[in-house]
């Protein structure tokens, strides 16, 4: 990106805001269709925004597996769309779709855009690759790896994780801290599927899935839907809550090739290409970020992103996540709702939703005054999840080592 490109992106700083968020319960058996889930989450987000539903005229979703297309959701809510897009392509889609939403409003095609994700990720199609995914014929791109028993996300990423351990001496015990931290955060989240804190020893004793990944290094699979509403800063002032402004967004940024095992450095992830753009456009550096949402499909992915975006020197991600910095009460808490490892699997939506609530001062934790934004900041598990003086949050999304995304929000 040239300085001119970064300058152009910086002109969008604070022009757009996330004004509404909503989700269904996280479960292993929703008992409903993704259409019903999507309608519930989108409706909740529109109500949370306090906007007139007629002001929602754009809809974007990450459409994978069993999701329901946007027009069906919109019709069920009585919304007429000027545009919609249901994309494929993995977990970086959340920040990507938010980027696209700001563009749609900037060009005047939409006034308000909903971004949602609806999935029966446990009871129907599991990312872990069992069942439906494993039964499809192998052809084209997949001939390079599926015949060798490499199918699931964990199986496709593990050689990159292994290479980080080889090149930098990263250890299983270090990355286990990611699961431990997120489990403590989830204990203060009524919505989380897994609310019991775990220890390093428990992570390391959990059974192997694909080395170097233990079971507890891997994310949940859940049924759920999530949604958020993007609108202009001007329109956001009429909303129900204080706006959360988009300082910068970069969606689905890629390394030179998507087949990441075959070229270049396995330990360099896509964030290396998004980093200068988003920090440059936002006009801040990593030291200005108060809390993060680093995509935790696996413990390793959160570590790799935090490192690649410069929250620690390259190669020291293991030490960084083991330092206490990422825990509530630490210098820069990560995934304060428990993330994909402990709250529920949402392809990154839940992490943006959590950071919106954090920046509003309205983390939905166990503080008696949480609904009014009154928090104790006692971060022992089962109590308060609100980060004190949270001003700037950053989300880092991950599809693969070769495709990622970033979003910087401020109150």
């Amino acid at each position: 990106m040239s300085p001119a490109d970064i300058h152009a992106a910086s002109r969008m700083r604070d022009r757009y805001a996330i004004v509404g968020v909503g989700e269904t319960a996280y479960s292993r058996a929703s008992g409903r269709s993704t259409r019903a889930l999507g309608v519930e989450a989108v409706r909740a987000a529109i109500l949370d925004a306090g906007l007139d539903p007629g002001d929602i005229d754009g809809m974007l979703s990450y459409h994978s597996n069993d999701s329901t297309p946007s027009p069906a959701i919109a019709a069920d809510l009585g919304l007429r769309l000027n545009t919609y897009a249901d994309v494929i392509g993995g977990g970086s889609s959340t920040e990507g779709l938010i980027t696209y939403a700001t563009g749609l409003i900037e060009v005047g095609l939409c006034r308000g855009v909903v971004v949602f994700r609806a999935m029966n990720g446990y009871s129907e199609v599991r990312i872990g690759g069992t069942g439906a995914r494993a039964a499809t014929p192998v052809r084209g791109l997949e001939l390079a790896d599926r015949p060798y028993g490499m199918l699931s996300a964990g199986q496709r990423f593990a050689p990159a994780f292994m290479r980080h351990m080889y090149e930098y001496g990263t250890t299983s015990a270090q990355v286990a801290h990611v699961k431990v931290a997120h489990s403590k955060h989830a204990a203060s989240n009524p919505k989380a599927l897994l609310k019991t804190p775990v220890t390093i020893e428990e992570v390391l004793a959990s059974r192997w899935v694909v080395k170097p990944l233990h079971l507890l290094d891997c994310c949940l699979e859940t049924d759920n839907a999530t949604a958020l509403v993007v609108t202009s800063a001007a329109r956001a002032r009429d909303g129900r809550h204080r706006p959360v402004y988009v300082m910068a967004a970069a969606g689905r940024v890629n390394k030179a090739r998507p087949d990441f095992l075959y070229q270049g450095r396995l330990t360099t992830v896509a964030g290396a290409h998004a980093r200068d753009l988003v920090f440059g456009a936002a006009g801040i550096g990593p030291e200005d970020v108060d809390l993060t949402g680093a995509y935790d499909a696996f413990t390793f992915t959160a570590m790799l992103q935090l490192e690649e975006y410069g929250f620690c020197p390259k190669g020291q991600g293991g030490a960084y996540v083991a330092s206490g910095a990422i825990e509530l009460g630490g210098r820069r808490p990560n995934n304060t709702s428990g993330g994909h490892l402990c709250e529920g699997y949402t392809h990154g939506m839940s992490m943006v939703i959590e950071n919106v609530r954090q920046l509003r001062g309205l983390a939905d934790d166990y503080c008696p005054g949480a609904a009014e934004g009154i928090h104790t900041h006692d971060h022992r598990p089962g109590r308060c999840r609100q980060v004190k003086d949270a001003r700037i949050a950053m989300n880092m999304g991950w599809a693969t080592p070769a495709t990622g995304s970033a979003l910087i929000l401020r109150r």
Partner: protein
């Protein structure tokens, strides 16, 4: 070409302009990659255009089949039902001897396969290491279909070996 292997249908029709030539060569016991007609760089998996110089001209280039393990994983819990009896099994990223460190220092010509023994069983975890020297072999799946694999070659490694400590 079509073959059932470990519960998967591997399908390579003549219209698969990327893979048909690759598996044609594999059936004859040859490992080939694409050589760019513009800049001469080798690429794998077989793609339509050169990711470096963008030329659409290419030829199939036989390679020695010798390489070094660049990274690996050990699948303990098989996801695909057809691999359950094979687990735990290694999946290796092999860097071929050709084009190491080119075009950029961190680049290399790489393949993903299993690491197998002489009788097509998964190599033992203890024998898998980054830095181990390997050579290609061709696992017969049907009369008209062979799957490239790698096995330990027995050559002395060029440097220290690294195994996952756990």
């Amino acid at each position: 070409m079509r073959v059932e292997y470990r519960g998967m249908a591997l399908i390579v029709p003549e219209t698969d302009s990327e893979w048909h030539g690759y598996f044609d060569a594999a059936r004859g016991g040859r490992l080939v990659v694409r050589r760019c007609g513009g800049c001469g760089l080798l690429r794998y998996p077989p793609g339509v255009g050169c990711p470096w110089c963008r030329s659409l001209e290419w030829t199939w280039q036989p390679v020695s089949g010798r390489g070094t393990i660049h990274s690996y994983e050990i699948v303990v819990q098989a996801i695909q039902p057809g691999f359950r009896d094979w687990a735990p099994y290694p999946v290796v990223v092999v860097e071929l001897d050709e084009q190491r460190g080119r075009p950029a220092p961190d680049d290399g010509l790489r393949l993903v396969t299993n690491l197998v023994t002489a009788d097509w069983a998964p190599e033992r975890e203890e024998s898998v290491a980054i830095g181990a020297r390997v050579e290609v072999c061709f696992q017969p799946l049907a009369a008209d279909f062979a799957l490239p694999q790698f096995r330990l070659s027995g050559e002395p490694p060029g440097g220290p070996l690294w195994r996952f400590p756990g």
